[in-house]
Symmetry: C2
Subunit: 373 residues, 2 copies
């Protein structure tokens, strides 16, 4: 496939749990000439990127920027900055990413109370309220909006109010929902949120958009200990990204310049389509795919499925690995395997961003019909 | 400069402390179609990238890979994995990056002994030996090969032997030397090393190549505590990058796919030129620039200058910020300001990778001659 000096990756249709297919305009923007990270032109591009992120997160939070790492770096950025050793937190655990959030927060020295739910199910307001009552010392409640491992959608309406009443910060994983599902950071009272670029934004992986609200800022300003990660320390990052803290912009680390170009272009594409129209497109195409899959006798794992990721039980009596292999080799379509305890038992079909099209839905259904014969 | 949907960054000549100018072939490779991070084609590209990194680090270390973040993420990856709370370390502090390494290691809970030297000077073997004698509990000695803030080159020959005698791990910052200066990881007994892509490799920023030797692996395998960073935890990363630890490749986080394409192409360019020839090019062009700068009456800050970064005292009686501004605006040339305590007092002219050419050296000298009239 490759020679010493050139790569020629196949033109896959990416319908796994991410990355999604990247539009040509984004790849083209990414290959624009590299600027220095303190060049006024670059700072202007970054400012525009942050402003577009605010629109897509539906927030006025000044501290909204892309962390220089993939989605998990965003999770770690929020955990390390909000938590100090000895703090307590509650994390909703109903899949791989809730499990990871608990692990990440524990590594910050926090005592983490797991709020558990069957994988594939979501949390009710009653259950969340109960967890808040049971853990009165909790500083943070962490919850996954779109659990990529099970395909379950978590409703967030009302959660912010419950947290606010208890003085608890609401932290949300929106890696697989930003730009594909309804998400209202300010209206829903979310205090800190992270996402990835390679899912519903259809930008290559490499950045993790985050946003911190005023209460999160207060908590960070009141820290007694240094953030354990220098790379992710928001007290320094904010001086670079927003000039916040006085004294104007201060160099921290070298930002991933060309990735920022790509993200800016991907966000421009989202805003040109219109956020509402884009969310509706994901809904309609999910219903189209769902109808087709059910017609093939395939069943969904979660009770309340994401539009952006369709997690189905592996077809009985068939080799799920072979199905994925043949989709990749014969059709150039990537779909995902089950993750964690669901390895070998599930298939995950992503409908994210640029990959979410009538063309792709009908193709993957035709291909599956052929392979399941 | 920008419209809502398109960026058109200026074609700068990047002669600051990094990023350096990126060759078109690297930008083109970066914009190849995005693959999934578990696609066999992508894994092959990553394997090739790691193999080329081994050649350029001059190491046989199996655990050699690009961390998914910029250079400082590599520093943090090594510190968090090698150190546990209560450990002791020695760090050479003679500039901004040594100061940072001390900070990063302290955030890991280590007690860090600063081995200090005047900024612009380097450490002698006698001084290093003395620091090792004085701190018998040290587990790690950290030192910066190419101190980007002062332009000083640190000789590393013999340092590994001193560390080995004391059973201390040698950790090296090679952000501004990899691919531009002589660097022999195995021959010099370096146990762990990190670099960046955007300096002498002339790839956009976004990845941090690291390499861990056998003794570093032993120390990591013997850890009593979890690595405080999930994102940078080598015990998990190695399962993805090398399939190490048994059980084949395991998904950890979504790697920055297109950045890996770019790095692979940048490394191919290094190997096509030949590592020795490239290092010699940096040396020759440094001498050419140095002769020209001294003819203009400009003086170097460090006693022993890097070839890749030329740190000079700001010209007396001139506004150094205006010189940088005019170079950028009138010539499209970026050079760097002084960093930290040297802000306003120094200029930093990078000659790294693709930016290190006769054309650029003679141009920047001509431009400076004009601006210093």
């Amino acid at each position: 496939m490759t020679s010493a000096s050139q790569i020629n990756p196949a033109e896959r249709i990416l319908m796994g749990p991410g990355p999604s297919s990247v539009p040509h305009r984004v790849l083209r923007a990414m290959s624009a000439p590299t600027l220095g990270h303190l060049d006024p032109q670059y700072l202007a591009i970054m400012d525009e990127t942050c402003e577009m992120l605010r629109q897509i997160f539906r927030t006025k939070n000044a501290l909204t920027f892309p962390v220089s790492g993939t989605g998990m770096a965003g999770m770690e950025c929020i955990a390390t900055n909000l938590l100090e050793p000895g703090d307590e937190a509650i994390v909703g655990v109903n899949g791989v990413f809730g499990t990871r959030m608990k692990d990440v927060m524990e590594r910050c020295g926090a005592k983490v109370h797991a709020m558990e739910q069957t994988w594939g199910e979501s949390f009710t307001l009653t259950q969340i309220s109960g967890a808040l009552e049971a853990n009165p010392k909790a500083k943070v409640l962490g919850i996954v909006h779109a659990e990529t491992s099970t395909g379950a959608l978590q409703s967030l309406e009302g959660v912010g109010e419950l947290c606010k009443k208890k003085g608890v910060l609401l932290v949300v994983d929106a890696v697989t929902s930003l730009g594909g599902h309804e998400l209202r950071v300010d209206d829903w009272g979310i205090d800190a949120i992270y996402s990835g670029t390679q899912k519903c934004l259809s930008c290559p992986p490499g950045l993790s958009p985050v946003s911190f609200g005023p209460k999160a800022l207060e908590v960070m300003d009141a820290r007694k200990t240094k953030v354990q990660s220098w790379y992710l320390d928001v007290s320094m990052l904010r001086k670079y990204y927003t000039g916040g803290g006085g004294g104007g912009r201060v160099y921290h680390h070298t930002a991933p310049i060309n990735m920022t170009y790509a993200l800016r272009e991907a966000l421009a594409a989202v805003l040109e389509e219109g956020l509402d129209a884009r969310i509706e497109r994901h809904r309609v195409l999910h219903l189209r795919l769902r109808a087709g899959l059910e017609k093939l006798g395939l069943r969904y794992v979660p009770s309340k499925s994401l539009h952006t990721l369709n997690c189905i039980h592996a077809p009985e009596g068939k080799d799920e690995a072979l199905i994925r292999h043949r989709l990749l080799e014969e059709y150039g379509i990537e779909i995902g395997a089950g993750l964690g305890p669901m390895a070998g038992k599930a298939l995950r079909i992503g409908l994210m961003g640029h990959s979410a099209s009538v063309r792709n839905v009908d193709l993957v259904l035709a291909a599956l019909a052929e392979l399941l014969k």
